[in-house]
Subunit: 202 residues, 4 copies
DNA sequence: TATGAATGAGGATTCATTCAT
DNA sequence: TATGAATGAATCCTCATTCAT
């Protein structure tokens, strides 16, 4: 009995996961509006109606999937940089992981940069939906630490967080549009240099 | 006769302009997909069919309007900073005008930040459509000047242009989402400071 | 369970049939272009979208319905004349059944004679669609048999088949245009006489 | 003044003629429904609105043009065969000219065979429109003469006229669908043979 | 839970026709 | 007469969502 129940729950979980994956894949490749619920259902190997057992509607599917994906990525990044105790190094490690993580999964980055800006469309209807907030909070925290520990000068860290995020996001966005995928491996170094040292000569 | 002809052309031009304005307004407020051609026609005070006398179809309407708007804005910015001969000052003036220009027309900024990222959807169909390219070219040119004239250190100016643009764009994007519109008047100073001097403490 | 499944399939088949009938009826009464998909859906007692579950689009609906109707009629005719072993008698029986079959279903004949000539419009798009080909092949085969077995003189049987078909088709077409529907019961006798004996005196 | 008036009338007549020609050409090549009034206007070198100075509406344009074309063709045929006094020879000459006339002007035959059957669509709205009636009357008259003068046996000449017409019409219709246009020069001989002598052996 | 047939509202686009010039 | 810009009704088709099984 217990075994069966667990099995059923696994199946349940896996069905939800299949829809989740299918949604990201489809949204990434074709965009939210060009993806039909039927497309997702087919990719996930379930019936159309089944989607509605796990998600309220198409908007909810996008929002939930988006939030979960961002959460997942942020958690991965946090875990990856946890060992780094120096806040400055940690901040820059975040960049590196952000870029790594996305450039190694093309679907994710396309989904991310394409849909995230389209999402203002959703903000009106779903005011709580602001997937990047967490990321900004993370960055601001690290910046505050850097300032507090004397690694950085005093500044408007909220604005600085947006600058950092906006830069990386736009670079990824441009990268995702190019056919030949050059490596972004060294980009984060230039990024760090500019932000850390500035552009001024001497 | 000549007068009449001129009159007719004026009327024609103004009808096109009305559609142009209505399109921006509607796309800004509701997004491309939630805006119907009928909505735009109604806003512009013309019949549905009239839209098709001036624009090939809905895609063409978005793309044309977008391109014209960006062109218009860039031209305005260029003109505004033309008197400034120092490339560094000119670069920073561009920031200021960019922020000014957009924050003084809410529809424009919403349209801009919402649709521009949705546009990957259009790149496939319309490879020539990349509305921000011109802007990036402008920034890169200014950066190259700064480097050449010794105001800035050597760097990957193409990447730097993306960093600058991405920063400003994201800041505007966040700003456009907040209900209470705080002034961004002083933001450009912080921006310049960070980019010019870096974040490092001395 | 098996019963239910069968039931569902029956319902499905009957829904398709309802659309089929409604399409013929509507196309016959108003012609292809003056019939909207909505009209057909209403006649069939289904929703507009349902049509697209059974037929790809409006063109496909016309073509499929047309082909099926012709096939059905030809099969009926073939079956009806199968017992007749003499090729001459069989040929003439085909005429009789053709006329009978169509004059007993007004919608069918109107549909047939109205749309079949409109169909050049479709040949470009759908080169395989030539609904009368089968009929011509059937007639030519019978004529060849008649010649081979000495019932008829040598002749261009392909052309002869077209003459026979064109005659009957036009007679039905004219008949379908008259308000008062006179019987065509004896017409086939005159037809046979003229084709068999010619018009010449003696 | 008189000269000017005549000139104006000529121009008027020629403008109408231009529309007439353009209509046939366009209807022939693309069919009635795929041809827009704008297409015709452009072909004729006039403004859209001008069409409505000469024809009430699109239906009227088709009907009028059709009737005039048929009238013209019939008159040509009648004139061509007028010298032939023998009714039998005259009848067969009509065939020859019918085929000649149409196969030497591809647009005409396409227009004719494509649109004429579509026309039941118009009969309801325009009961007087039956373009082939005149042709049938001509054929019946010739057949009656043949019978009266002992060239043919007694028969239902009304039906016979339809048989003759239907045959030729269908042959032309099939011919118009084939890409490679074989000559129909000798076809009328086979036609005559079958109708005159019958298909029977001996 | 899971299915997938059925629904029907919604929207882009075309084009015959009008009318001010 | 002639123009052609403007109109807006008409229509095919898509697709998110429901619900009987």
């Amino acid at each position: 009995m217990a075994y069966q129940k667990k099995n059923v729950e696994l199946k349940k979980a896996s069905k939800r996961r299949a829809i989740y994956q299918a949604a990201i894949e489809n949204f990434a490749n074709n965009g939210f509006h060009k993806t039909s619920m039927s497309d997702i259902a087919k990719s996930a190997g379930v019936a159309d109606g089944t989607l509605y057992l796990y998600f309220k509607n198409k908007d909810d599917l996008l929002i939930t999937v988006f939030n979960e994906m961002v959460q997942e990525k942020i958690d991965t990044i946090k875990a990856a940089v946890a060992s780094e105790t120096n806040p400055l190094e940690r901040l820059y490690a975040v960049f590196k992981y952000h870029i790594d993580l996305f450039t190694h999964n093309y679907s994710y980055v396309k989904f991310f940069v394409q849909e995230v800006r389209q999402s203002p469309e959703f903000y009106g209807r779903y005011p709580d939906f602001h997937p990047i907030n967490q990321y900004l909070v993370l960055l601001k925290g690290l910046l505050d630490d850097c300032v507090a520990q004397g690694y950085m000068k005093k500044m408007n860290t909220e604005l600085a967080a947006k600058i950092l995020y906006g830069s990386v996001d736009f670079i990824l966005s441009e990268w995702s549009l190019n056919k030949e995928k050059t490596s972004l491996d060294n980009v984060y170094k230039s990024l760090i240099d500019i932000f850390h040292e500035g552009m001024k000569k001497e």
